[in-house]
Subunit: 192 residues, 2 copies
């Protein structure tokens, strides 16, 4: 997120899914120096995760019915190495990639996707990968236990907000770390 | 600030200057337990500060010409113990309080208030106390070197934003600490 609360810049498009300047939010991940705090965080992200839930826009390929040639942003060997349940309104056969990642396309809504992910994960964690709308849906369902908020020290001015139309969600800080490229705060979601 | 970016809740008024639920943002300060991180931060806030700049709304007393009976929110002995330069459009004689605090009312704009505060502070720091509009004016002037952002783990849903209409201001994280009541991040403002 930017300091002014945006997780994507203005004018998001198929060509520019993070919007104008939105990629800069992720510098902590893509420009992490070996041995840095950011590198350690980036390398630990998938640890202990048994399944993922992801929104359609994060998987990409544009809106509407599927162009079956679209297999995600991540090449043949995506960084998930686990089942990924993609929320979509458009049915599609599961997509088995290299390295243990299989994308499953769920048309029955986020509760179903979360249930499938929990079943697949067993006693490992389910990670809601994003994007913002997917995270908001899961927050509204009370399905999120912990949230890592990574704030880049920049302003975007406008764009897509993460914390919007959420109602009364309460948080508690568990952990903070920072690098020159981001302040990372881990929150527990407190049930009312 | 709330997680969703508000430094005051909706419907700010003379009676309720922080807006609905806005006081909850300051729980880290008012409910800090003795010996806690928050208490240490609260107790250190004035250290090394030789003068303050403050907006009219933070000083209070309602908009427009002065009701001279209004002497701020803080009683006879305000917690500043130093000169405080209050931005206002309405002239008023300086107000000497107990404990070393004197409120000076500056009608020539934030640059003038900052200059007076720097002169009064000598080699000590000038602290921009708030509120949000005063901080934004000083950020736009490039007059802020460091910013402590204190984020309360709550949502306000609407209200007054701090980071709005600021243009291209870049930040760098210097320090993070957290307590159950707030995540505190110290930023350096990076000049382009």
């Amino acid at each position: 997120m930017s300091l002014d609360g945006f997780v994507a810049g203005p004018n998001q498009s198929v060509q520019n899914p993070l919007g104008e300047n939105g990629e800069s939010l992720h510098r902590w991940m893509f420009e992490a120096q070996p041995g840095s705090i950011d590198a350690a965080i980036r390398n630990s992200i998938g640890a202990g995760v048994g399944a993922y839930v992801m929104g359609r826009n994060m998987f990409g390929g544009g809106p509407g019915g599927w162009d079956e040639s679209w297999r995600g942003w991540w090449g043949d060997n995506p960084p998930y190495h686990a089942p990924v349940y993609v929320l979509t309104n458009h049915p599609r056969a599961s997509l088995e990639m290299e390295g243990g990642t299989t994308f499953h396309f769920v048309t029955e809504g986020p509760e179903k996707a979360l249930a499938l992910a929990r079943e697949a994960a067993g006693d490992r964690e389910v990670h809601v990968a994003g994007g913002a709308d997917c995270v908001r849906q899961c927050l509204r369902l009370g399905a999120i236990d912990e949230l890592w908020l990574r704030t880049a020290p920049m302003l975007l001015g406008s764009g897509e907000r993460l914390f919007e139309d959420l109602g009364d969600v309460r948080f508690e800080q568990l952990e903070t770390v920072h690098s020159p490229l981001a302040a990372h705060v881990r929150y527990r979601i407190v049930r009312p």
